[in-house]
Symmetry: C2
């Protein structure tokens, strides 16, 4: 019998020979196997659980004897008795190699766990958080070798965890001495790895072995809504998600109106900065409260947002973003103390990471979309559209990625629409119009029933039918076009032209009556000619942006379209294409990525490697500035038609035949409608 | 004629050949000649002034023709007209090399100027400040290459000043855009080089070329007084010095009483922390006000202090420093934001550097003394004594340096002395006693006259004669010993024994009447037996500490003694040696270093190299812990005699013959006195 043995780890397949008596954790570390440990092999944390395999492993060419690992010891016994241990599991720091053995490292024992992202594409993400807890044993002070407690903590972290030159701020130094003494020179230290070359910091310290959660908050700070996910930084689990309205709305609905507010009201930026910081701070608390955890356990926050929100959050006057050349004060990623943003509900030493901005109109939120959707890794040409008040577009593949923003305005969010409203219970979100009878049916948020199905009235009794939201207006306009109620120029036909009285005259134009609740004291919900024009402006801007990117890329078609943004998730691909919001593509290649910006924030929260990666990616993304591209105007005008005046939509034509109607009798839509009625 | 020329710089002697037309500044930079420039060679700052030499330079083997430099250009003309230029001077960035030339760089044009320190030793110190201003020209933003203004500033600093990866906090980012636009993309940036590997930070930014002062504050934070020097960081000039009482005195006179206050009063450390921070903050303002400068121009502060003051300033409970093993929370140097110490009067981004501590009783103040006095560079064996409530001692030479602290108590500062008082007008500071008549004469603070000189009464009429300060009591006791009024055991003799009625009986002991103002309603100033005992305790502790260091060093004598501390500057070496406060040494080798800790703070303020150096030195200084050394007690008891029971004082004997008296008739001083009087 030899005095060493073969140890094979699965699933990595790493293998090596070790002296008999070597703890499994030690073997794993020497081979670089990803086996977790917080306590450093002291049998306290149980993170290093492994499952030994016994018997014949022909694949590996070994036979594992029943006594290949040392017998259960008292540490394992006590752990199993008190905390419980899955059958077949051992503690890697206690079990010693006594013969050839195959050791499986279960996913939950891996530091760099792979976590399945809940998104359309179900990609995995690898845990690599900046913040982690380690258990250390610190030398006691010695009068003959006088060093500070902190210097001995530094030494312990270097020796036991190979983390050199750790820094700590005064709040940690202040608590260090009582904590070390209470823990009898054992402590659990929350460490934060600095961005790039910055030093690792001690964010928190607890006496002895401490298992408190390490939480992080991923925030998508939008102009209209602020959405946040509370995550466990050890395994990436989402413990809670919540959102609230951006309180800056009282200063202006869209970004440019907020920039104007600052220009007109000196000090207005300070008001808006406080408002958004207070909102973030209270959101952190409410989301923690809902999840039943202490917000002071939030050690990190990642923020993604557009450039104006970015500057207002930082307290930087956004006025330069409102005028050419749209210069950002800073475009790089930011690493900040949460207290510099007045986020007092988070841990006192919490850190904030803000993704880099791509350009003055293409922000950290777009960078987060790129992090989530990875156009730079796509083999086919993908167009990613983050639909919002300002649409941000990415086009590219593994060769090259381009970005631009397009000023769609708020029409897609239900604003500037006669019966428009935010997506809330009571809002019409889906619409179908019978091409023969021209009669509509619809669904409202809060019920799965269509308006012509039994029980609809009862189901909507509480919410009522209050208006039409962004996805509803897109479907309504597209359905009107498909039913022949609207012509390619966007003109609504008269009752005569369309054969339905639902096309009511209103002044010189017509409106389509989607719902009339006036008999019961409810609203009359119309799609007016003005609504159609607003949607045409918005979709033309969006399409023109996409077209500019395609020009710059030198392509006429895209292989895939990804709709991102909370709103993007609710858009029907078919209706979007009928409207000509997006370039023609195979319908099954038009998908929604959900809140990709929020997902990107979550990825950055859980992985420093992802931060490095998106910083490099952003550096390589080429920005196309729509405001100064001469062809933007031409693309915009051509895109005004539904779906388009010039560009062919062959994929769309394969599934939908749009009626060849024209309600313009004089070359001018509005005029034509009027003349027709009078004539 | 060749197309290049020889350029020789003095005083460095650096030389090289350069193409004709090369600006002198460029040549200097390529040769590594220390020639200053803030504007980077743009003819704005005038820091690069040089003096060309013409004619025969046989030493260098060149002859300099009158046209060796290009003719005066318009930039130089304008500068001379508006700002003035010393005759013979040129601007190094404008004057071009046209032939062999010898160029002198005057001291004020050197970045690393040598500054003569005003101290006993008049050593030079080299300017190498962490904070400096540079002028940059930043690229304008470009829509096609979208980067933030800050990223373009970073690029400019890297290209124009070779400073990479500069960081800025939100307060700078907030002001960046308006400043760059106001200065038309030219700006003066105040940069702070981080400690060790920390990144360089932007502390401030001004539009265009800005010549505002860069100030720093060197603070010696003592238990009793806080002293500060306001320095110009560009040339090390002291613009003002000021001091105030440490307001913590209301919580306890000495360090241990402050530690006790914290132990007895939970939250007491917080009160003391606020008190000292407020004092520092107001001191910064008052010293700047006095110097007629804006305290917001103070970009850096260096603090030296003992460990208890260190912890109280940082907001760390000092309780561990009051008990073995006297563990510091942190012993390393600290680099902090001034706002973390609530120093709101300084620049918003001001940085604070705190020197490292040597041990739990040997603080950053002792490190500063080492930085100023450099025992580690001494060829002979030097003992440095920083006399204060807690004396700190350094012993060593270029081979090895030892340190200890000794609990002398406050007697040397006039406390615990019957007529003791702080050094203030009216306090007796010098004493002489006629060995024949036993009559005293003295001087009080505020007058240079001795008490037996004409005009003394008038000169002291305002202050009065109020008490006796530390240096006064030391001289009084030493003079009493020399006049035969006190025996080696410290006992004051009776009128019979001493032959003077000035030795009054008081209970069982005697007191010496130094001054009797009672007839005029003034005080009667005595040196009591209790006073002698208090001084004996203090000096024994001091001597025992020195002796322990000598034991550890393996020496019986020292070559030099340096008395440091404000108090040390006022001690008469002869009297100190008569008392046996310090080991015997040649009298002319006992010198005062003045406030060496304050000087050390000033050196660290003006030089990052000095910071690195003292951090390395402190690491090598070996600490001897007096509290646990078994021989301390023995040394202490032997040192109780005046000057000493055992150790010979040959140098002292060479200049003073101490009367061989003994007033103890029974072996116990107090008892003996009583018996004698009764017998």
């Amino acid at each position: 019998m030899t005095d060493d043995a073969l140890v094979i780890f699965t699933p990595s397949g790493k293998r090596g020979r070790f002296a008999l008596g070597t703890p499994v954790l030690t073997a794993a570390r020497q081979l670089g196997v990803d086996l977790d440990s917080v306590c450093g092999g002291r049998g306290i944390c149980s993170k290093c659980q492994i499952t030994p395999g016994y018997g014949e492993f022909s694949k590996h060419g070994v036979t594992v004897a029943p006594d290949a690992l040392s017998e259960w010891n008292s540490v394992e016994d006590r752990y199993k008795r008190i905390r419980g241990l899955v059958d077949g599991r051992r503690l890697g720091c206690q079990a010693k190699v006594m013969g050839d053995v195959v050791i499986d490292v279960p996913p939950e024992s891996q530091v760099h766990k792979q976590v399945i992202r809940k998104s359309a594409t179900e990609r995995v993400m690898v845990m690599d958080p900046a913040t982690r807890a380690v258990y250390v044993e610190v030398e006691e002070p010695d009068m003959h070798e006088p060093t500070g407690d902190f210097e001995r903590l530094q030494r312990a972290l270097a020796a036991q965890w190979q983390v050199e030159g750790v820094e700590a701020d005064l709040s940690v130094l202040r608590r260090l001495q009582p904590v070390l003494r209470k823990g009898e020179w054992k402590a659990t230290v929350v460490l934060h790895k600095g961005n790039h070359d910055a030093a690792t910091r001690v964010l928190d310290i607890f006496p002895g072995f401490h298992e408190g959660p390490l939480l992080g908050l991923a925030v998508d700070l939008g102009s209209t809504t602020i959405a946040a996910h509370l995550c466990d930084l050890s395994d990436g689990r989402v413990l809670g998600s919540s959102g609230l309205m951006n309180p800056q709305i009282r200063f202006g609905e869209d970004l440019m109106s907020r920039v104007s507010y600052v220009m007109m009201n000196p000090g207005g930026d300070v008001e808006m900065t406080s408002a958004v910081r207070e909102a973030l701070n209270s959101l952190a608390k409410s989301i923690a409260d809902e999840a039943g955890v202490d917000p002071a356990k939030i050690y990190e926050m990642v923020v993604v947002c557009n450039p104006v929100m970015h500057h207002l959050l930082m307290g930087i006057d956004p006025v330069e973003l409102g005028q050419a050349p749209f210069a950002l004060a800073t475009s790089g990623s930011l690493s900040l103390d949460a207290r510099d943003l007045d986020l007092g509900n988070l841990n006192r030493n919490a850190r904030v990471y803000v993704l880099p901005c791509i350009a003055g109109h293409v922000g950290a939120d777009c960078a987060a979309v790129a992090l989530s959707e990875e156009p730079q890794k796509s083999k086919d040409m993908v167009l990613i559209v983050d639909v919002g008040t300002n649409a941000e577009l990415l086009l590219g593949n593994e060769t090259r990625v381009l970005a631009c923003s397009s000023p769609t305005g708020p029409a897609f969010e239900g604003a500037q629409i006669s019966s428009g409203q935010r997506a809330a219970p009571g809002a019409i979100e889906r619409v179908e119009i019978d091409p023969v009878t021209k009669e509509p049916r619809f669904r409202v948020i809060g019920s799965d029933l269509w308006s012509d199905e039994p029980g609809f009235d009862a189901a909507t009794a509480v919410s009522g039918i209050t208006g039409i939201c962004g996805s509803g207006i897109i479907e309504a306009v597209a359905e009107m076009r498909m039913a022949g109620l609207v012509d390619p120029g966007g003109l609504i036909g008269s009752p005569d032209q369309t054969g339905t009285d639902r096309c009511e005259p209103h002044g010189r134009t017509h409106s389509y009556v989607l719902y009339d609740g006036s008999a019961a004291g409810g609203p009359k919900i119309l799609v007016t000619q003005g609504d159609i024009r607003a949607i045409q402006l918005a979709k033309s801007a969006l399409y023109a942006g996409a077209r500019l990117l395609m020009d710059a890329m030198g392509v006429d078609t895209v292989d895939r379209v990804t709709l991102a943004g909370a709103f993007g998730a609710h858009i029907s691909p078919k209706h979007a294409m009928v409207l000509g919001m997006i370039p023609d593509a195979p319908l099954d290649h038009v998908t929604s990525a959900g809140n990709a910006a929020g997902t990107g924030a979550r990825i950055a929260l859980c992985s420093v490697a992802a931060r490095d990666s998106i910083e490099a990616t952003v550096h390589d993304i080429h920005k196309v500035e729509t405001a100064i591209e001469p062809r933007f105007q031409e693309h915009f005008v051509n895109a005004n038609a539904i779906p388009h005046a010039v560009d062919p939509f062959p994929n769309l034509a394969g599934i939908v035949t749009l009626p060849d109607v024209s309600f313009n009798t004089s070359g001018s839509g509005g005029e034509g409608g009027r003349r027709r009625r009078r004539g």
